[in-house]
């Protein structure tokens, strides 16, 4: 009798920290329906629209010279913007995470600033600097250097919008890891460069890769900022997203979606890589959690390297 009473009490307590089954199922259904409508359908639309006129038309659209030059320019832009922001990201994270100095919080906010600036404003500021009416406009014109409505402007605008990606991944990671290992390396006689290369870099590897992946995706896909500085010269200053816009506005819908499908593939690859990196990172963290806790701080760092 008392046994069944305690059983009843237990099941009542259980039911009160879990939702009833029908609530659970309806919550999952609504969430999945929302995800299907807002994420999966738009993604599927890109590919079905791209293949609307068949595979041959799809290939033809991708092999057009203008499409090719857009792909080349997009790759070039990312190839310059990502390494620049990588060097900046590492340098900023080293300065901000490893030392204490006045104005550090403000500097961190400034690093984040480009994230909150509208892409259109980001493009506009370079027009005001280097455009024909801008600060350096007349001088640049005299030297016959084109920045706005040319490739350098596109690269500058891309660098601006992808500016914080790598730094903001690395700063919290390096702050969490502290300075102990680096100090040990320096005391043991390592140079600054050796310390970075053999101690810090292995520790921040996954965060670094993560930041580079996100930075690259944004660099290749940026539209608003690049649109302002590009001038939309076909075959010269059109990146892939701009080429998509031009084709779309010319009612070449299938061709627009064909180029867009490449960018959607890039997004899918980015998401897949991101999941792999997160999974590896979580595994490294879990391995640390399983270790005996005699010197958890030390083992935490060491294990992130594998």
């Amino acid at each position: 009798m008392s046994d069944s009473a305690s059983h009843q009490l237990q099941s009542k307590a259980f039911s009160q920290i879990h939702e009833p089954r029908w609530v659970k199922i309806s919550l999952i259904s609504v969430a999945l329906a929302f995800m299907f409508l807002f994420l999966i359908l738009p993604l599927a639309t890109v590919f079905t629209e791209a293949l609307r006129k068949g595979f041959d038309a799809y290939w033809a659209a991708l092999q057009e010279p203008d499409a090719w030059s857009a792909i080349r320019l997009t790759l070039l832009t990312a190839a310059i913007a990502v390494p620049l922001n990588l060097v900046f990201g590492i340098s900023a994270a080293w300065a901000i995470a490893k030392y204490e100095f006045r104005g550090k919080a403000f500097l961190t906010t400034l690093v984040d600033l480009p994230f909150s600036v509208s892409p259109v404003v980001a493009g506009l500021i370079y027009v005001l600097m280097f455009g024909a009416q801008g600060w350096f406009g007349p001088w640049l014109q005299a030297q016959d250097i084109k920045i706005i409505f040319a490739v350098p402007g596109i690269i500058l605008a891309t660098v601006f919008v992808t500016f914080p990606f790598i730094a903001r991944e690395l700063i919290p990671l390096m702050q969490a890891q502290g300075n102990d290992e680096e100090q040990a390396a320096v005391v043991l006689g390592a140079t600054g460069w050796q310390t970075f290369w053999y101690v810090t870099l292995p520790n921040i590897k996954w965060g670094l890769i993560y930041g580079v992946i996100l930075c690259n995706a944004r660099a290749m896909g940026e539209f608003g900022a690049v649109s302002v500085v590009s001038g939309h010269i076909r075959g010269q200053t059109n990146t892939m997203p701009l080429h998509v816009e031009i084709l779309y506005n010319e009612y070449q819908s299938a061709a627009a979606f064909a180029v867009a499908s490449l960018l959607a593939l890039l997004a899918l690859v980015t998401l897949a890589l991101k999941s792999v990196v997160e999974w590896r990172h979580a595994r490294a963290l879990n391995a640390v959690a399983d270790l005996p806790p005699e010197n958890p701080h030390w083992s935490f760092h060491n294990d992130l390297t594998h």
Partner: protein, 273 residues
């Protein structure tokens, strides 16, 4: 203070130079350019009826979209953290799609989907409801863009909430709904607010995904960033700059608000600020 680790001067120096060249000097160009306008010109450029209509649309649609994102973002985060179901890993990875998908691609795809002959638009057309080429389309595009912000800020907080608190509430006789509103919700409220502010800030500046679906009719469905571009195309640099400065100030204020919210959230969860 003697610093043990080498490299402070060179890394901080490089950081400051790069930051100045890429971000600070160009942004100051925007501010200085605005100073070439008189006060009256500035007011005229930033408060003409067409500009005011664009503020109303941009802020109204962003507010609405961020609110929808809070509701559905919380729902998605909750389902991902608390329940097991088929395809969960896939859904979790897919949440970041709006971050990874170029905005122009999102724009044309949503337009194709919601136009009167699109898969979804077709369903609404018989009732006389138009989803694309009007403010409704703007809101839908902004919901798409803002979704990951709320999910990704709420998810980790929800993972860290202590089950023991919920058990204690249940033992003390709280119903599940009371436990949610009185125990769980206060714990995740700062994260929800942060996610809301981030989605809102992003929505205000958004351009690529919106312009295809908006229809871009002056006074009706023209967003503020587009207005900047159309002024530029008419060589009205001063007018474009004045509006851009207004946007810049707003985004800077939002950035400070988000920073403050995040500090609050860290304090709530007991981590060092």
């Amino acid at each position: 203070m003697k610093r043990v680790l080498p490299g402070f001067n060179i890394t901080l120096g490089f950081t400051l130079i790069y930051l100045s060249l890429i971000v600070l000097i160009p942004l100051s160009a925007l501010v200085l350019k605005t100073f070439t306008l008189t006060w009256d010109q500035f007011v005229l450029a930033t408060t003409s009826p067409r500009v005011l209509a664009s503020y109303r649309l941009t802020f109204g649609a962003s507010l609405l979209a961020a609110t929808v994102n809070v509701v559905f973002g919380l729902l998605v985060a909750w389902v991902l953290v608390r329940y097991e179901f088929f395809g969960k890993k896939f859904i979790d990875a897919l949440v970041d799609l709006p971050f990874a998908l170029p905005t122009a691609v999102a724009g044309i795809s949503l337009t194709a989907l919601l136009a009167n002959n699109g898969w979804i638009g077709k369903l609404f057309e018989p009732f006389g409801i138009q989803l694309a080429f009007n403010p409704t389309g703007v809101v839908i595009a902004l919901i798409f863009i803002g979704l990951p912000f709320v999910v990704r800020t709420v998810q980790p907080v929800l993972e860290d909430t202590e089950k023991e608190l919920e058990e204690a509430a249940a033992c003390l006789g709280a119903t599940r709904w009371q436990t949610f509103t009185k125990v769980i919700f206060p714990a995740i409220a700062p994260a929800l607010l942060t996610g809301f502010a981030m989605a809102f800030a992003r929505a205000i500046g958004e351009y690529g995904s919106v312009i295809f679906i908006a229809g871009n009719m002056p006074m009706v469905s023209e967003i503020t960033p587009l207005l900047i571009i159309s002024k530029l195309e008419q060589y009205d640099y001063a007018g474009a700059t004045a509006i851009a400065l207004v946007m810049l100030v707003i985004s800077f204020v939002l950035l400070l608000v988000i920073n403050a919210l995040q500090a609050w959230q860290r304090k709530r969860s007991g981590a060092p600020v």
